[in-house]
Symmetry: C2
Subunit: 578 residues, 2 copies
């Protein structure tokens, strides 16, 4: 009887593999489904591991529980889901001609052979551990599995100095987790910014400030050279620029797709290094599918193959594979590289192409940066969001977005994800009937405000610079005048060094104080008063005026607080009196 | 000199009018812009008034402040924005042939005439006050203007019993505001549900429960008959069903567009009773535009004219009008009837067509109801959202959505607004690359889960009923067996009266306990285990099985908590032992 059943073997029992198995069982009660998992645990939420180390929940097993609190172990899957899961079982090789997988029970060392009618590779990823001196010292650890989390947790309970290598998602989440445990944290990033593949520099600079504000010793443009230890345990981390004490090192440079099984079986590996698949997630062997972090995806906006391993995509992949294995023509269209991450009190989210991506792809991007409260500004708990939109100049089509702030950035990015998926223009975004009530949004949602400023730019009405452009301009042109049009009280609280204060309400009356030959850059807290100032100055015949987008909220560079410093030089003093 | 300038007169200085004026000034510094406002105050956020009465902010003036805390009064607009605002000025009549408005200064009574080149009507709405006995008693009040809020606030400080007439947005917000002040609240609604034009009955039933849970005496299907008082002050409210003590009555039946000026000027009034406008928001007189709560809109999904007065639309209108007045061909495409409202701890949001709307329009709707945590269920603060999606069966296109729960419903509705605006199918929604991280979402976002269940229904894989259908079925067919497949601990905590408990993990072993001839309705907390139970039962040959969508979280009817009651009858007792 067993012989008549169609046999599906799934290699990998975390996200994509378990989703595929569950959906297969739901679609076809007759299938024989076996999931092989090398690790001890199956179906865990790897993304939650940093929060375990932060101490947000007590038991590591919680990352393997259903929303109803039931542990997802092999027994659960057999009894509830009705399929077989074998933890501690490694797939050693695939014999495609004979349709068999050679497997090893890791506890006993016994090898055996498992026949399949269809095979699903959900082998996941593995952390990059560069072959540098000291990488094998005790206390040097990646974070991938619950076992890693257990060991890091043990280390964290003793550690005083941690070095995190890599400013990606896991690096940032671990920086917060370890700081919250009271550990001194140095974060090393080889590039000049964190989240380099996700954010443009100006937005990443806001993350840099948040990290430093929370006591993270952020070291940009510093590559790890070696790790040193004593008695087999890590003691310090060495870069070209310095040496950092460490009794704990988190290796978070990134991950690579786990494709050794696929490669040895002769399956096609794509340009990204992940397993090549078609839209049905079939590999170069039609009897073998790949899903999750071992498979590559198509970027919906560039059409290029990309490798973005995420649990959200893995779950979608699992469903598509199961459907196709049951004769349902499901396709996985692709991804937008959407992601979100909490970095202390700064929420960070992005989707689509960055400005740099768009430029490299020749899409002639126009961008805008806009700051606004995430709900009615008088409603308690309103917090800012800073939105960067990227659009294609000629088509006015949205290409990407980055949203940062202590407010509800995740809401805005998901709305933009829908817009990007469906090819919306900036103009369509600006007129969307987003739901409005003071506890949830402002009458003009921050997204609509941002879209309108971008329309103004595309239409040649608004002339502006983003904070990064302003900083670059000031470095090239020391004459450029940064004009703070906020109130004296706002200026006294926090200000950009060197900016001149003329409140917007007084501007029309005080035009004579401003030089007509110099570049003037008005700004405010958000953007609107800066823009109004630009229009007032232009109407008064000033020709070199561009307001600063996003206002002081989006300014990622030096800020001055407290009492206003008197100019240090006599010349300055005279100028001020004059 | 003044004579050469183009003169724009705007009637109404709250949202649409002020937005139009501000944008006009930004687009053209040469225009002569005059805003007439009948009330004392201009540019206030009317939507925030219930929160003032709730006590969430101290000063009523805050609803007229910019995000930077500056009061938006006539002086502010003259000095900062550069146009003229005349509060306390009523527009009496429009002479279209001569292009003149006759106006009256309300303080002095002086009448004069104002010529215009273009006129913008932004006359807003007025609350419906039915001509019933007692409507003029002191203590009976609508809530529209800051003056209303001032008076209601004064009354609320003394009141012990309030009656709110009308279960729309303002009625619900005022119910919460007054309860939070410790006042006994009766809410009268003529229809059998609150938010009747926005929510289907089953979703509104969840709002009813939330109101009652928070001590609101909700009286559905009860029309106001008369209001009684003593010495000119309200004392009680009378309906066909009862009499309710009241020292404060909030009239919140709804609003009508304020169109008397337009009608008397002979402008076309649309089928909704609001001023008819084209896509450029031009009235039947090309020199006159209408914007905001006095103008009608087009529903993007039905193509019909609708009247949905909201500050979000008013602001968009203002911009479109200004652009068109400055020679820019801007169009306002229409609305989706999106709205959100906080009702105590229940967040409520909706957009597009309701199931009932869709049925009345002949769109053959298929719906789904799905419950899920709004972020990773192990992340602190995760709260449920209950999503109802409405789609067109043949095209699989999304038609509408209702999202309720203590979690982030506003995020999901705005994502759906983008999807609805751009004509997305359920399948497109299911594969969207929504941003995922545990603090913000689950790996399968609730939206994607809901879309997948709806796909399963459309594909004939899932057979289900929503809670309202279950309740109706139970009333018709007393034999229907409600099967709770949660854990004994969950069942002990809260349960649907009369449901039979067999935990999902034990189901395969206990099939013999279930009757094969009766309709079986498995359910769980959310939906997934109920669906799995359906599949297990079907695979075991049970033919009459449909799981309940949304689980116990979406069940709006009676629930039992605490110790499980023993059956009252001997028969029941014997059955239980057996």
């Amino acid at each position: 009887m067993q012989d008549n059943k169609r046999r599906i073997v799934i290699v990998g029992g975390v996200a994509a593999g378990m989703k595929a198995a569950s959906r297969l069982r739901r679609l076809d009660p007759e299938l024989e489904i076996t999931v092989l998992e090398r690790g001890r645990r199956v179906s865990y939420g790897a993304c939650a591991l940093p929060y375990y180390i932060e101490g947000l929940f007590e038991e590591l097993d919680e990352v393997m529980q259903t929303p109803a609190g039931v542990l997802r172990d092999a027994e659960f899957f057999r009894k509830v889901k009705g399929f077989e899961v074998r933890p501690g079982t490694e797939a050693l090789a695939v014999d495609r001609a004979a349709k068999r997988v050679r497997i090893r029970d890791l506890a006993s060392g016994t090898e055996s052979v498992l026949p399949y009618d269809a095979l699903v590779l959900a082998t996941g990823n593995r952390p990059i551990l560069p072959p540098l001196p000291g990488i094998d010292l005790a206390g040097v650890h990646p974070l991938k599995s619950p076992e890693d989390a257990e060991q890091l947790m043990e280390l964290a309970q003793q550690a005083r100095h941690a070095v995190i290598v890599g400013g990606g998602l896991i690096g940032l989440e671990m920086a917060e987790a370890l700081r919250k445990r009271g550990i001194a944290v140095t974060l090393l990033e080889m590039k000049d910014q964190v989240l380099a593949s996700a954010l443009d520099f100006g937005m990443a600079a806001l993350v840099h400030r948040e990290l430093r504000k929370n006591g993270v010793d952020l070291r940009l443009s510093e590559a790890l050279q070696r790790i040193e230890g004593e008695a087999g345990k890590v003691t310090r981390v060495i870069t070209a620029a310095g040496s950092y004490p460490a009794d704990l090192v988190v290796m978070a440079i990134g991950v690579r797709p786990e494709v050794s099984l696929a490669r040895e079986a002769g399956l096609e590996i794509g340009p990204t290094g992940a397993i090549a698949v078609n839209e049905r997630l079939q590999t170069s062997d039609p009897a073998i599918f790949a899903a999750g972090d071992c498979a590559e995806s198509t970027d919906l906006l560039s059409g290029k193959k990309v490798y973005v391993p995420l649990g959200s995509t893995a779950n979608k992949h699992g469903r598509v594979v199961a459907d196709n294995l049951c004769g349902r023509e499901e396709r996985f269209p692709g991804i937008l590289g959407s992601l979100s991450v909490k970095v202390f009190d700064l929420n960070v989210a992005r989707s689509g192409l960055s400005e740099e991506d768009a430029r490299l792809l020749g899409r002639d991007p126009v961008t805008v940066l806009a700051s606004a409260p995430d709900r009615a500004h008088i409603y308690p708990g309103a917090k800012p969001v800073i939105i960067k939109l990227v659009a294609e100049r000629a088509s006015r089509r949205l290409l990407g977005a980055q949203v940062l702030g202590s407010g509800a950035v995740d809401k805005r990015i998901d709305t933009l994800v829908a817009a990007l998926t469906l090819g919306a223009s900036v103009d369509q975004l600006a007129t969307m009937d987003l739901a409005y009530a003071p506890p949830f949004a402002s009458a003009m949602d921050p997204l609509i405000q941002a879209a309108n400023v971008l329309r103004n730019k595309l239409d040649g009405i608004a002339a502006s610079l983003d904070p990064l452009e302003v900083q670059q301009l000031r470095q090239q042109n020391r004459d450029a005048l940064l004009l703070d049009v906020r109130s004296p009280a706002e200026h006294a609280e926090i200000r950009i060094p060197g900016a001149t204060l003329i409140p917007l309400g007084a501007l029309r009356a005080r035009l004579a104080e401003l030089p007509r030959d110099r570049q003037i850059i008005p700004f405010c807290k958000l953007s609107l008063r800066g823009y109004e100032a630009q229009l007032i100055l232009q109407a008064a015949g000033f020709e070199k005026v561009r307001f600063m987008e996003g206002g002081i909220l989006a300014w990622p560079f030096e800020l001055e607080t407290g009492p206003i410093r008197e100019p240090a030089t006599p010349e300055g003093a005279i100028e001020q009196v004059a």
